[in-house]
């Protein structure tokens, strides 16, 4: 599909959308009682809520839980107010999305986490006990993400890792857990563009390009952690030899005692393996 076709498609989509009626999640009806009234029974929750960024909302508790008049009139009848525990994940998230519909959350609907029945409140706690954590997360970010992604936790504890344990990065340095236009919920549109955001020296374009490098950094590297040097998936020379099988020294067996294998293996000579800008760099040696 050409770029012109994309623009036409976008224009057509916009026309269709403008013609469409409003969504099912309607504005809240009347019957608000105010946060102060809520506090007469829910003192702890209201206190916790007051310390959160949500307290800036003019609607207070009822901004999320809906109008409380019927609930109050019913003597605390839980069926007459929005109780998040009773909502489906998508119903629950729809409440949050009324306000959080921009920025990082703009791609939430239909994202991997949304389609697997996770809700906003799976990870965020709107009225936390004690100190208010960043982004109202239920646990510190690394701990939270790895409570499901156990393998990533194991990888990040390896000796070969990015500086996450040291507090210089976290999962959201690369991923947007709310969904994105990139693969694997990456912040950028491709794996490589994500990597270039910190490793701009690898961006090029180079005169001599190494095709698997240009197409996907993950061909050779595992950014979550590795037992090999430089976050490589395998150690050289075997990593290189899995493609370079054809002729001459790449297809020879190299013992630990030879200069093709020790130190950095193939990269001892082909040091510009990410791309070279030298007119004599077609073998990535210069």
């Amino acid at each position: 599909m050409g770029k012109r076709a994309w623009i036409l498609l976008a224009a057509a989509a916009a026309f269709v959308c403008f013609a469409a009626p409003r969504p099912a999640l309607a504005d809240e009806p009347s019957g608000m009682v105010g946060t102060q009234t809520c506090g007469t029974c829910h003192e702890d929750q209201v206190k916790a809520f007051a310390a959160t960024p949500h307290a800036q909302s003019a609607l207070g508790c009822e901004g999320c839980h809906g109008p409380g008049q019927a609930h109050v009139d019913g003597g605390g009848d839980k069926t007459k107010i929005r109780v998040f525990e009773n909502l489906t994940p998508s119903e629950s998230s729809a409440v949050c999305l009324k306000c959080h519909n921009k920025g990082m959350q703009s791609q939430w609907i239909g994202s991997t986490h949304d389609s697997r029945k996770l809700a906003c409140v799976t990870c965020h706690d709107p009225h936390p006990k004690g100190a208010v954590p960043k982004a109202l997360l239920r646990k510190p970010e690394f701990e939270l993400c790895t409570s499901c992604h156990l393998q990533r936790k194991a990888q990040l504890f390896r000796s070969g890792h990015m500086p996450m344990r040291e507090g210089k990065m976290n999962c959201t340095s690369c991923h947007n857990p709310h969904g994105s236009t990139g693969p694997a919920m990456l912040l950028q549109n491709s794996v490589n563009e994500n990597c270039y955001s910190c490793h701009a020296e690898k961006r090029g374009p180079f005169l001599w390009e190494h095709a698997p490098v240009r197409e996907n950094c993950l061909t050779c590297h595992d950014p979550h952690g590795s037992i090999q040097d430089n976050l490589l998936r395998m150690r050289p020379p075997i990593l290189c030899q899995q493609c370079h099988t054809s002729t001459r020294h790449p297809s020879q067996i190299h013992t630990p005692a030879d200069r093709f294998a020790f130190n950095q293996g193939c990269v001892n000579c082909h040091a510009m393996i990410h791309g070279s800008n030298s007119p004599s760099g077609q073998r990535f040696e210069r």
């Binding site: 623009i7 920025g103 549109n189 270039y196 374009p205 190494h210 040097d229 130190n263 040696e285």
Partner: protein, 722 residues
């Protein structure tokens, strides 16, 4: 504490004083904050660079961290936080905001990246990027002297760079439904990293390593405007990034030569370093909620990556440049490289009825390399050998990836969701061994939630990667294999079970399995398998005691085949196979104990990761496989391999904290960190490596190793909150 650090403390102090002044003179405001300061000592064997690879763990008096917050009733806030002031891993962040209106963030972060601190070098960097050896050495070695005669002059050199990042970001939300953002970031990397250069096989056949300067700067600007009213969403943004390398090339003395020669190599070698480059992108996105719980979201992004850094000459070798058959004039002086990027995506999501939902997606991503093809009449391999059978032309590497697919999910009962997905990815390559490859993925998912205490998630994927027409220009030969795009059949499953029978107990079990088969690959990667099993448990015994732990076992298998060929087809007796198996065990264990509420707290965390890698070869009995030297016992047996590689990392932190009152507390922390590894590839490194490989007798290495360590850190500090 050096002068720079003192200055940093002064700047920090001034900033804090300014903030405190604002707070003191402001009416109707609240201030809070804390400061953590104390002493730390490091004992044991901690000289390894690995110990402080990404951080600094100093001994002495340390301001560990501080925070300050000011909140006025008029809606203005100031938040400052920072840690490790004056050290290589310091960071600070300041936020000044008016609630619901705007926010200004100023951040600074620094972190080191150690490669090795055992490196030594004979080279003197006389000018930035110019690495010279003593003249007598090159003269002597060219005359036949042993390189070992000159090693006494080696000097230690640190292989480390620092990354310093400063960022200023502004966000405005003062207009209902609108969000405006702008940020500027300046990142500087400075220091050294290892870099190798070598000569050609027939010419000296030697390699040198240098501590190559790192002098990178990346400036980034982002700006965006977004609108969202609950139904509609629009955004537009712009990103710009400029990378500048302070050094375009390195010039390195060849230890084996002091004269240029057409047959014996160059006096100096030159290598091109990463060129300056720029990138920008424009992004537009829009979305709208449609009737019956539908939403459509579309994104368009287009950008460009460019570089036009001047080329270095073909070679430093004046003897080759003087050859009548060699044309030293470059056809162009710079590359003028350009890659256009484009993303277009549309996603329609619908949950029209309570028990059914779906989504359909179309996405096209392009990395369209529009760089010119340059025909070089000749080139020089490793400053050593003139290659005269040109033209030698660069390949244009890029691709277009078109993805479409859909997902349906059913919730037969409220607690159960069954999903089915299909994704079709077609990747058209500008220049690869195949014109295109297509990945078709079927995925089934199951998500169960019972009674708030049982959650089970599982998925199964069947993935087939097929290839299109062979690109005869790109294919190395019939036996080459590129495992990233080759025909591949993949089976994957994973499962996660979380049990929380009480609010005090949580148990999570997980497993993953993935197997790749390469049905067309006789050589290259022929198989790949990965599986893991994990458990994670946490248990709280009242409010005073909690304990948690986890274990994960992982195994990776990679199989490959190859053959040294003089002719095509080769001799099957020369085939060889390699099987590599990596295993990793990861344990964590921790506890939190509060024997005296609001007074005494004890916490302890232990992590242990042990990874091993075994790589074994097989050859045809009686065959004539080719290699550089023979493995011990290889002649008489079919199986032999590399020595096992392992690395074990243990981190144990225990902290005892006593709270004197709500403002003041003191803590003592003991931190044990141990790294124990064996790596046949790097443990052996010395400046002179011909003791291991006699053909490296004119090579000079940095002897960069990463030794084991066993360190104890004792930290005592007081924390004051106000």
């Amino acid at each position: 504490m050096n002068v720079t650090r003192t200055l940093k403390y002064l700047v920090l102090g001034a900033a804090m004083a300014s903030l405190a002044s604002v707070a003191l003179f402001a009416q109707d405001s609240t201030t809070s904050g804390d400061i953590q300061a104390g002493g730390q000592t490091v004992t044991g064997d901690h000289s390894s660079s690995k110990f402080q690879q990404y951080e600094e763990i100093p001994s002495g008096l340390v301001l560990f961290g501080t925070a300050f917050a000011w909140d006025s009733k008029s809606g203005y806030t100031v938040d400052f936080k920072g840690e490790n002031f004056g050290y290589d891993d310091q960071w600070a962040t300041l936020e000044w905001a008016k609630k619901g209106q705007w926010k200004l963030n100023i951040d600074f972060s620094q972190n080191p990246r150690w490669f090795s601190n055992t490196a030594t070098t004979l080279y003197a960097e006389t000018q930035p990027g110019v690495f010279l050896l003593p003249t007598a050495m090159s003269v002597g070695i060219q005359g036949g002297a042993d390189i070992r005669n000159y090693l006494n002059g080696s000097q230690p050199v640190g292989l480390k760079y620092e990354r310093k990042t400063g960022k200023i970001a502004f966000q405005y939300t003062g207009i209902e439904h609108w969000l405006f953002k702008a940020s500027y970031q300046n990142e500087q990397r400075s220091g050294t990293q290892p870099l190798s250069l070598g000569s050609y096989f027939s010419v000296g056949n030697n390699t040198v390593e240098i501590a190559s300067p790192v002098d990178y700067r990346t400036n980034t600007f982002n700006g965006s405007a977004e609108y969202g009213d609950g139904k509609w969403f629009f955004s537009g943004g712009f990103d710009y990034s400029k990378f500048t390398n302070g050094l375009s090339s390195v010039l390195v003395d060849n230890p084996a030569r002091y004269q240029d020669s057409t047959g014996a190599g160059a006096d100096f070698w030159r290598a091109s370093l990463p060129p300056d480059n720029k990138a920008y992108s424009f992004n537009l996105a829009g979305g709208v909620n449609l009737p019956y719980h539908h939403r459509v979201v579309a994104n368009i992004s287009w950008g460009e990556m460019t570089q036009d850094a001047a080329f270095i000459p073909y070679t430093t070798n004046t003897a080759i440049n003087a050859l009548a058959t060699f044309d030293p004039v470059l056809p162009v002086n710079s590359f003028n490289g350009k890659i256009d990027t484009f993303l277009g995506s549309v996603k329609l999501t619908g949950d029209p009825i309570e028990w059914f939902g779906y989504s359909v997606t179309y996405r096209s991503y392009e990395m369209d390399n529009k760089s010119p093809v340059i025909d070089f009449p000749n080139y020089v391999a490793a400053d050593s050998v003139a290659e005269l059978n040109g033209p030698y032309s660069n390949d244009i590497i890029g691709y277009k990836k078109t993805t479409w697919g859909g997902e349906v999910h059913f919730d037969p009962v409220r607690q159960v969701r069954v999903g089915l997905e299909y994704t079709h990815d077609k990747m058209d390559h500008q220049f690869r061994e195949y014109e295109d490859n297509t990945v078709k993925t079927w995925k089934g998912t199951l998500d169960l939630t019972f009674s708030q205490w049982v959650t089970f998630r599982a998925s199964y994927s069947d993935i087939k990667n097929d290839v299109g027409a062979v690109n005869e220009d790109a294919a190395l030969n019939d036996y080459s294999s590129q495992f990233d795009i080759w025909r591949r059949d993949t089976t994957q499953y994973n499962a996660l079970l979380t049990l929380t029978p009480t609010s005090d107990l949580a148990v999570t079990l997980s497993t993953q399995y993935s197997k790749d088969k390469y049905p067309d690959s006789t050589f290259g990667r022929t198989g790949c398998k990965y599986d893991n099993y994990g458990i994670d448990v946490s248990y709280a015994l009242g409010e005073k005691f909690s304990i948690y732990g986890s274990y994960m076992y992982e195994k990776y298998n990679y199989d490959m085949a190859s053959q040294y060929r003089v002719t095509v087809p080769g001799n099957a007796l020369d085939d060889w196979w390699n099987s590599t198996e990596d295993k990793v065990d990861t344990y964590t264990l921790g506890l939190l104990f509060k024997p005296i509420s609001d007074k005494l707290e004890v916490s302890s965390d232990l992590t242990y990761s042990k990874g091993t890698s075994d790589s074994a070869f097989a050859i045809v009995p009686g065959g004539a496989y080719q290699g550089d030297g023979y493995f011990p016992n290889a002649a008489g047996t079919q199986y032999f391999g590399y020595p096992e590689v392992f690395n074990k990392l243990t981190i144990w932190k225990t902290k005892l904290q006593w709270k004197f009152n709500k403002n003041l507390s003191a803590a003592f922390q003991y931190w044990w960190q141990k790294y124990d590894a064996a790596n046949w590839a790097t443990d052996v490194m010395q400046p002179y490596m011909a003791w291991l490989d006699p053909t490296a007798n004119k090579s000079l290495y940095l002897s960069a190793t990463v030794p084991n360590y066993n360190a104890n850190i004792f930290r005592a500090y007081v924390s004051y909150k106000f």
